[in-house]
Amino acid sequence: MNTIFYIAGAIALLSSILAITNRNAIHALLYLILSLLSISVIFYILGAPFIAALEVIVYAGAIMVLFIFVVMMLNIGLEEELENKWLKPRMWILPSIIAAILLANLIYALRVLEHQTVTPQIIQPKQIGISLFTTYLLAVELSAILLLAGIIGAYHIGKQKKKIIHRFLKK
């Protein structure tokens, strides 16, 4: 099982790196889907089968399809030259140094854990459901309101407004 964890983790890290360094948006999205699927494998072997299924269905199935639809709608690939001017290898140095400092910080902070290995138990979806609808009932209702606001906001913002010009202003 540990080997599966390491393999899936390596695939997730590699495909995430490929996703953010790729120039083609569709290829990057496909790498991102690969990364999400391997994270879903990690969820499964961590004893969270419900979350693994939810990751595949909602993240890789719904959110990424939304991304792909937008990328296809905008027909991206025409204005790549503009970013190519910016995206030199030199640009990656400073953010990578900042990230490396943060990583060193994290490693230093994680020393206190001292190799705790507890074999995780499988948490059934029933437990999650009971916890969702008793302890976290208020948060579930709030997230329903958030989703409603998201729907209305996306509809309102994404609407193509017809430009109204007075007839004297028309050329």
Partner: protein
């Protein structure tokens, strides 16, 4: 079941978060910036699930479901904003959004 130590698992989630952070800092194409935010949100959820499985509690997975909800709402609004941006400026470059900048000062 998996017996990888807790620190390796959290380190993995931290590495994923940092990859998303570097992508957000470096890329100027706004679709890639949104994708990097997705990677970061996902790694935050991964930490919740790791902690939940470590203490055998369902709360971590409940938190992941909430993160999923927030990510879905954020992506739908963000993509609508991207559509409007492309409609107005005909580009996806985040540096093109400089209407408030002083034109005299370059």
């Amino acid at each position: 079941m998996v017996t990888v130590s807790l620190e390796v698992q959290i380190l993995f989630a931290g590495l994923l978060f940092l990859i998303g952070l570097v992508g957000l800092l470096v890329r100027r194409n706004i679709i890639f910036m949104l994708m990097s935010i997705e990677i970061m949100l996902n790694s935050a959820g991964l930490v919740f699930v790791i902690a939940g499985s470590h203490w055998a509690q369902a709360d971590g997975q409940v938190m992941f479901i909430f993160i999923l909800t927030v990510a879905a709402a954020e992506v739908s609004v963000g993509l609508a904003l991207i559509l409007q941006m492309y409609h107005h400026f005909k580009t996806l470059d985040a540096d093109a959004l400089n209407t408030l900048r002083d034109k005299n000062e370059r």
